[in-house]
């Protein structure tokens, strides 16, 4: 004979288990939405033709001097670029929201100078060419397979890159799990103001 308490205990216990099972399945499905499932190939969301079209658009815009704000990892950097990249000045640099540079200062480091639109185009061209020519390492010295996912977005009007990121997927031959690592630190253009030259 089952008592009322026993019935309630069974009901709550079973319901809890089923809810937990559904939560596990739902979280896997949601995670797969955020991070695409494994495919046994490199992936890229643009072709060299897309790159050429965007670059042409940028050249046709004739923008020579501009102020660009870039977010990359923990940095928010605003650069003033003039003369097509001949002069690069750091207007503001925030690290984790804390200011490092607040007044104009010449950008000496390669990393900062790589954040001009021309250099961003060079980065995109290099990665697109590497993907298309399959010129990327396919395995590491531990025998793990490597795959790359390139994601690039261009500004629809001026054509400059607004987002560049590349991830590396690493998996063992068993393919039980694939780990994704950052291969190219994501660069996102948060703000772009044309100074002169249009």
């Amino acid at each position: 004979m089952i008592s009322e308490g026993q019935r309630r205990y069974a009901l709550f216990g079973s319901a809890g288990t089923i809810v937990l099972l559904l939560a596990c399945l739902a979280s896997i499905a949601l995670y797969k939405q955020a991070v695409p499932p494994f495919v046994e190939a490199n992936t890229e969301n643009i072709s060299s033709a897309d790159y050429e079209a965007a670059f042409l658009k940028w050249q046709e815009s004739g923008i020579d001097s501009y102020e660009i704000t870039i977010h990359s990892r923990n940095d928010d950097i605003t650069l003033r670029v003039a003369g097509g990249g001949a002069s690069v000045v750091v207007v503001r640099h925030l690290l984790d929201g804390q200011p490092i540079v607040e007044s104009d200062m010449d950008a000496h480091s390669t990393r900062l100078r790589n954040m001009t639109v021309d250099r961003l185009f060079e980065i995109v061209r290099g990665t697109v060419e590497a993907h298309e020519s399959n010129n990327l390492p396919q395995s590491d010295n531990e025998g793990r397979s490597l795959f790359y996912d390139l994601a690039v977005r261009f500004d629809p009007t001026a054509g400059y890159p607004v987002y560049i990121a590349q991830h590396q997927r690493v998996t063992r031959p068993s393919h039980e799990i694939t780990w994704r690592e950052v291969s190219l630190i994501p660069i996102e253009v948060k703000n772009f103001i044309v100074s002169e030259g249009r």
């Binding site: 695409p36 068993s174 799990i177 994704r180």
Partner: protein
């Protein structure tokens, strides 16, 4: 105060003696370990028989904290359910053999049913979750690691609940705290979930996948054997074993004569002095 007296009474008369206590504990741990590992092998063999494409050396494996799960695209429940039932039968038979001296036939049958259903449910739940993880790409970051840990530990909790909950229902009216049994069943799969997460993070694949069930079986066997003997000591009046323990202990005590007031606190009635003198003279 009353509770303390009850505990003392239970300790003395409703719990097994030292020898029985340790024999039960060791027997249970051994039976559970053997049952989990043997059940895993037989369950997998049944699956392979019903779905040969899921077995073999060349078959890719999905992420799993227990039995091996193939990474094929199809969800073959018609093979997984019989596999789980076979694993459940093995576990039920082994555990019932240890419980035979403590429960009546109806209790043993209840336990067997609960174990078969629970183990099969755990088997199928692990199978379904593992199948869903095929192709999963996890970020090698704190967020990704936390997600993986939560997923595998969550799977362990489901597997532990699936077995522990039906069994605790059998114990429900027999012991004071049936939830303790569920907690004891969680330990093995939860620990193995943590271990497998760590191995995936460090090695990139589960290099101990063939020993998943064995590791979980060792932990579950130990934790449930401790819980079982503890529950024997904290049983309700409806537990069959309290009768046998009490009668055994009471038989072992020297028989006492009935006192005037019916209490052992008083000495047995002495014969009147005149009668005792007469007895002496004889």
């Amino acid at each position: 105060m009353q509770l303390n007296q009850q505990d003392e009474y239970a300790r003395r008369y409703q719990s097994p003696s030292g020898c029985v206590f340790w024999f039960t504990r060791l027997g249970w741990a051994f039976a559970t370990f053997i049952a989990f590992t043997l059940g895993d092998v037989l369950g997998k063999a049944v699956e392979a028989l019903l779905a040969p494409e899921t077995a073999g050396a060349g078959v890719r494996r999905a992420m799993s904290i227990a039995q091996p799960v193939d990474a094929g695209a199809s969800l073959n429940l018609l093979a997984a359910i019989p596999g789980g039932l076979v694993a459940g039968v093995v576990l039920a038979v082994c555990q019932c053999l240890v419980l035979l001296p403590f429960m009546k036939r109806s209790g043993i049958l209840e336990w067997a049913g609960a174990t078969i259903v629970g183990r099969a449910a755990a088997w199928v739940a692990i199978y379904v979750i593992s199948k869903q993880t095929v192709g999963l790409v996890v970020d090698r970051s704190m967020g990704g690691l936390v997600f993986l840990l939560a997923l595998l530990v969550g799977t362990g909790v489901i597997a532990g609940l699936a077995v522990g909950l039906p069994q605790s229902l059998v114990l429900y009216r027999r012991v004071q705290n049936p939830a303790q049994w569920v907690a004891a069943n969680l330990s093995g799969p939860v620990v193995i979930g943590m271990l497998v997460t760590l191995i995936y993070y460090i090695q990139g694949e589960n290099v101990v996948r063939d020993f998943n069930t064995g590791f979980a079986a060792v932990i579950t066997a130990i934790s449930t054997s401790i819980a079982l003997t503890d529950m024997f000591s904290h049983a309700t009046s409806q537990a069959e074993w309290t009768q046998s323990f009490r009668s055994r202990k009471e038989q072992a005590k020297a028989p006492q004569q009935e006192t005037v007031l019916g209490s052992s606190l008083y000495r047995p009635p002495q014969p009147p002095p005149s009668q005792s003198r007469r007895d002496d003279a004889k």
